[in-house]
């Protein structure tokens, strides 16, 4: 077991504030994107109700693989980011972001962000590994990047030890590794290796996780065979940047559900012989939250659009780097506050296991750490936009 750093970190290369405003991002949703949203929402409404998600968290199979099959294979969503020539749908981060908004809204226990975005982006950065990529894009298999979920783009990450053609080491905090068929493991020789999860020498054990719907796992490699698909540094950086950028759309979905559900409840819930939602102290809190959700939507669309604008260079493109860092420096607090406000304003029922608000709180809090905290992204911005520390 050793620790390596990625080859280098992205530095500001012209996205500074003095540069002219580049092409305006498209912050709206196209008709096609709205149609995609409607289709995903329909499926989730039918197959991912809150009671079902809660009971699944108490089972031995925290991931809903039949729902995953319907989304990833049935609707072809696993391959959105993969070009058609490489076995995917040839769509962009804009569409994937819309899918993630809906998955966040339903707090769906499926490995979309981890497999169809993060693992997929890592492979897209690699020269080799086309077969693995195609198998993820077609949803025949699920992939997971074996980098701890809390890692920010450009930050240090642990690597396995490569020796005599096999891998050794223990990697913890790997999101959705439980559900993965193939693990993408960075090694201390600078390579990224595809490792079959069921191979001899590979043990994946679930960790008891704060977020019940995106569980973490410990991966132990004890002479595990791996196939080198490319260089770990650029692949991991690109994967984490895309993950961080699109996570903002998931966080938007979480926040939207929390706000909408709380507004609905407060119109209905009566105390002191009037709807609780009529009290000004509560109205103002909900209006503030709505403003933050409006802002988050703009930041999330901006990140998705920036990633879509130059997918091949997404990891190193400074515009995208700024857009992602801005979105992640903002999104965490909004999603967490929305879930916390939802819990508080639901009163006692919000504190129960039976009510789904805790699923959103746990996901939102975990998301605020995933792919780098807001603080880590603010620090990245200090370099990107030239607001240097003392």
């Amino acid at each position: 077991m050793s620790t390596t750093s990625p080859t280098n970190s992205t530095s500001g290369t012209g996205a500074g504030p003095a540069s002219p405003v580049s092409a305006q991002p498209d912050l709206l949703y196209s008709e096609e994107e709205e149609a995609l949203r409607a289709a995903v929402r329909d499926l989730l409404t039918d197959h991912c109700d809150a009671a079902r998600v809660i009971s699944r968290t108490e089972s031995d199979a925290p991931h809903d693989l039949s729902l995953w099959k319907a989304l990833a294979d049935g609707m072809g969503l696993a391959g959105l980011l993969v070009p058609e020539g490489r076995g995917g749908q040839g769509a962009t981060h804009r569409e994937a972001a819309v899918v993630l908004e809906e998955l966040g809204r339903a707090v769906a226990p499926v490995p979309y962000l981890t497999s169809a975005v993060v693992a997929t982006e890592a492979l897209l950065a690699c020269a080799d590994g086309g077969e693995v990529l195609a198998s993820l894009a077609s949803a025949r298999r699920i992939g997971a990047l074996a980098v701890p979920l809390h890692t920010a783009p450009g930050a240090f990450f642990p690597a396995a030890r490569a020796a005599d053609g096999v891998l050794h080491g223990e990697l913890t905090g790997i999101a959705d590794a439980d559900a993965a068929d193939v693990l993408l493991v960075p090694a201390d020789d600078g390579g990224l290796y595809a490792v079959e999860a069921d191979a001899v020498g590979v043990t994946v054990t679930g960790q008891t996780s704060l977020d019940l719907t995106r569980p973490l796992a410990r991966v132990v490699l004890d002479g595990a065979p791996g196939h080198r698909v490319g260089d770990a540094g650029p692949a991991v950086r690109r994967a984490l940047r895309a993950g961080a950028g699109l996570l903002a759309s998931e966080q938007l979905g979480l926040a939207e559900w929390s706000l909408a559900e709380t507004v609905r409840y407060l119109k209905d819930r009566r105390q002191f012989n009037r709807p609780v939602g009529g009290f000004q102290a509560l109205k103002h809190r909900l209006a503030q939250l709505w403003l933050e959700v409006v802002n988050l939507r703009a930041a999330a669309r901006n990140a998705a659009d920036a990633l879509a604008a130059d997918p091949a260079a997404a990891g190193d493109d400074a515009d995208a780097a700024v857009a992602v860092a801005v979105a992640q420096a903002y999104a965490g607090q909004v999603a967490v506050r929305a879930a916390e406000e939802a819990l508080q304003l639901h009163g006692g029922i919000g504190m129960t296991w039976e009510h789904p608000v805790h699923l959103y709180l746990k996901r939102a809090k975990a998301d605020s750490i995933a792919y780098g905290t807001a603080g880590a992204h603010r620090e990245a911005l200090a370099g990107l936009v030239d607001l240097q520390a003392p």
């Binding site: 305006q24 709206l28 409006v294 939507r297 703009a298 930041a299 801005v326 420096a329 240097q388 003392p390």
Partner: protein
């Protein structure tokens, strides 16, 4: 439908007939109005061509490229943004023809006589009285406040109480008031920055002919909604580059003055920089929605966010400056012609931005509006709805 190509052609035609280099500014503005290129979405004959509003940019770009002067919209913002749309919607044909052209060219400046000392957030409680005389005119008595441009204005849009015996929203009528009437007295209202952007306006026996009434008698509250809704559109439609707002001067100071930096300020600056950038993106998204013809409720909240950010950012700026933050550029009582929130120095920005959460609707009232109109939460219990205005406590 007039399209972009047609507007380009008409713009070139205007420029050929009135070359900016040899045409007096006012003549060119009048000719532009008469060519329907002033505000293309207005009707023909009233400065427009009935074209989509989004095509105005085509005309503006063509005229700017040719070096043509504009109508200095910041100086006549109240006329353009509030009076004009209201006159267009509620004015008689005669009123539209009389008022809109000199309003647009800036020959006649407009101000707004709405707020009163006793009617701020509760604007509909206003007490300025308009009493009908001689069958064909009105006499107005009362006091208005927070009136920008009153000292420069030729005309005012005015709401006054014409029937105190009905509930407050129903007894209001909307007028155009002649600011040169001898009964109009304008006094500067000095504010915490030291200067006087605004005025108090005292109305004593002011005569208004009935032909200067906008809308029906008693329908003034509804007419005023047009004015106020357009105010919000005007506030929401701005386009900013990154660091284009209040964050710009602080970020520049941070870069140029490393000796002022501390870790605590760095964390707070980065946090506010992110919020300013996100608010800018939200404004840009709103603008894109409007251009795409998909207006959403998002505009209702833009001002709330900008008010809070302006205050926090300018507060940080004063603190960043340290010893210099203890100084102020100038307390001299002045009457600026333009309102510029980012003008002058940090101390001014800090003090002036305190008004951002009060002017154009307090943040508290705007939060109620968002909660009730956007989120659909129950309205505040009303005790004044069915009470005649004259019987309200005040």
């Amino acid at each position: 439908m007039t399209d972009a190509a047609e507007l380009r052609r008409r713009t070139q035609e205007l420029l050929a007939a009135h070359p900016p280099a040899t045409t007096a500014r006012l003549d060119l503005l009048r000719a532009r109005f008469d060519a329907g290129l002033a505000w293309v979405h207005y009707p023909e004959g009233l400065g427009g061509l009935g074209a989509p509003r989004s095509l105005q940019a085509v005309v503006d770009a063509g005229l700017e490229a040719a070096g043509a002067p504009d109508n200095d919209p910041r100086r006549i913002g109240i006329g353009l943004g509030m009076a004009a749309p209201t006159i267009l919607q509620y004015g008689t044909e005669e009123q539209r023809r009389r008022f809109l052209r000199p309003l647009w060219t800036g020959e006649e400046v407009w101000c707004q006589l709405f707020s009163e000392p006793g009617a701020g957030s509760d604007l509909a409680a206003l007490g300025t009285r308009a009493v009908r005389v001689d069958g064909d005119g009105w006499v107005v008595d009362g006091q208005k406040v927070w009136t920008s441009s009153a000292h420069a204005a030729r005309w005012a849009i005015l709401i006054a109480r014409t029937d105190p015996d009905v509930p407050k929203h129903r007894g209001i009528t909307y007028f155009v008031c002649d600011m040169t009437d001898p009964g109009v007295e304008v006094r500067p209202l000095r504010q915490i920055t030291g200067e006087a952007e605004f005025n108090e306006v005292f109305l004593t026996g002011v005569r208004i002919p009935d032909s200067h009434r906008l809308g029906e008698v008693g329908d003034g509250w509804r007419v005023a909604q047009t004015t106020l809704n357009n105010e919000r559109v005007a506030i929401g439609g701005m386009r900013l580059p990154r660091e284009g707002g209040m964050i710009g001067p602080v970020a520049r100071t941070w870069r140029e003055r490393p000796e002022l930096r501390t870790h605590d300020l760095h964390q707070r600056l980065l946090g506010l920089w992110v919020e300013a950038e996100v608010a800018r993106l939200a404004g840009e998204r709103l603008r894109q929605q409007l251009v795409a013809g998909q207006p959403g409720p998002e505009g209702a909240g833009m001002k709330l966010g900008f008010a809070r950010l302006n205050q926090q950012i300018s507060g940080l700026e004063v603190e960043l400056l340290g010893a210099e933050g203890l100084l102020y550029d100038d307390w001299t009582m002045r009457r600026p012609e333009l309102v510029d929130f980012t003008g002058r120095e940090a101390g001014y920005r800090y003090l002036r931005s305190k008004g951002n959460s009060i002017e154009g609707g307090t943040s508290e009232v705007l939060l109620n509006i968002v909660a009730e109109r956007v989120l659909g939460l129950p309205a505040e219990p009303r005790t004044d709805k069915d009470v005649a205005w004259k019987d309200l406590a005040r």
